[in-house]
């Protein structure tokens, strides 16, 4: 699965994206799984409320969304377009 990071999340994680084999079945578990692997994730995901998530390039409102058969999950702060 491709996991992408943008803005200050990208800077905290240190890479714009990574290809990972993950066990988790939903976004919530995926975040916990990442945090277990390295301290940098714990720091990046510290304030989970300020983080937005897109699954296969669609914004999700709920971390329980399944990530089975999903190609990419992206994490980023609130958007500041326009």
């Amino acid at each position: 699965m491709k996991i992408l990071y943008f803005s200050w999340l990208r800077e905290k994680i240190g890479v714009p994206f990574e290809e990972l084999e993950v066990q988790s079945e939903n976004v919530h578990d995926l975040i916990k799984e990442l945090i277990r692997t390295d301290q940098k994730y714990a720091l990046a995901f510290e304030d989970i409320k300020s983080i937005r998530v897109a699954v296969d390039q669609k914004l999700i409102q709920n971390l329980n969304v399944s990530i089975k058969n999903v190609k990419e999950v992206a994490f980023f702060p609130p958007m500041t377009g326009g």
């Binding site: 990208r10 390039q57 669609k58 702060p77 377009g81």
Partner: protein, 157 residues
């Protein structure tokens, strides 16, 4: 990315290059049924939050998703108002004070519909398009924080 839905032509571009407003207006093509063309240009300004002057504004985005998210916003606008043409160009990369950031053009038979739809699209771009801004100053840089008012203003629609 170009789409045509219910006789409304939707075109969305994410690009580093500047845009030419005249050329984009011309791209509307036939104007037989067009009575009003609303345009909005977002410009890099020095928000003067810092003591020093802004050196540049960096725009990062999520390639692929940005286009889709903006198309969705345009489609939502097109469901609410009778519009015949929507064009959105959003620049990314490094911009300077005074540079164009974004262009929204909507064309309709009626002025109200073109105004409202352009304003709607701009409001939703602010917090629904996966784009992030970083302000670079001489001595430091900082990510622009999303404004609560931008999120709240979406509820007025």
């Amino acid at each position: 990315m170009n789409k045509k839905i219910n006789n409304c032509f939707i075109s969305v571009n994410i690009q580093k290059d500047d845009f030419d407003v005249n050329a984009e207006i011309k791209s509307i093509g036939t104007r037989k049924i067009i009575g009003g063309i609303a345009n909005f240009i977002g410009v890099v300004r020095d928000t003067q939050k810092e003591k020093e002057e802004l050196v540049s504004l960096e725009l990062e985005h999520y390639p692929g998703m940005t286009e889709k998210a903006i198309i969705t916003i345009c489609r939502d606008a097109q469901k609410r108002w009778e519009i015949n043409f929507v064009k959105v160009i959003h620049r990314v990369g490094n911009l300077k004070i005074g540079d164009n950031i974004v262009l929204v053009i909507t064309a309709s038979a009626h002025r109200k519909e073109s105004f409202k739809s352009a304003e709607f699209i701009m409001d939703f771009l602010k917090s629904r398009a996966p784009i992030w801004k970083k302000e670079h100053y001489k001595t430091h840089s900082s990510w622009v924080q999303s404004k609560e008012e931008d999120e709240l203003s979406l509820k007025d629609w």
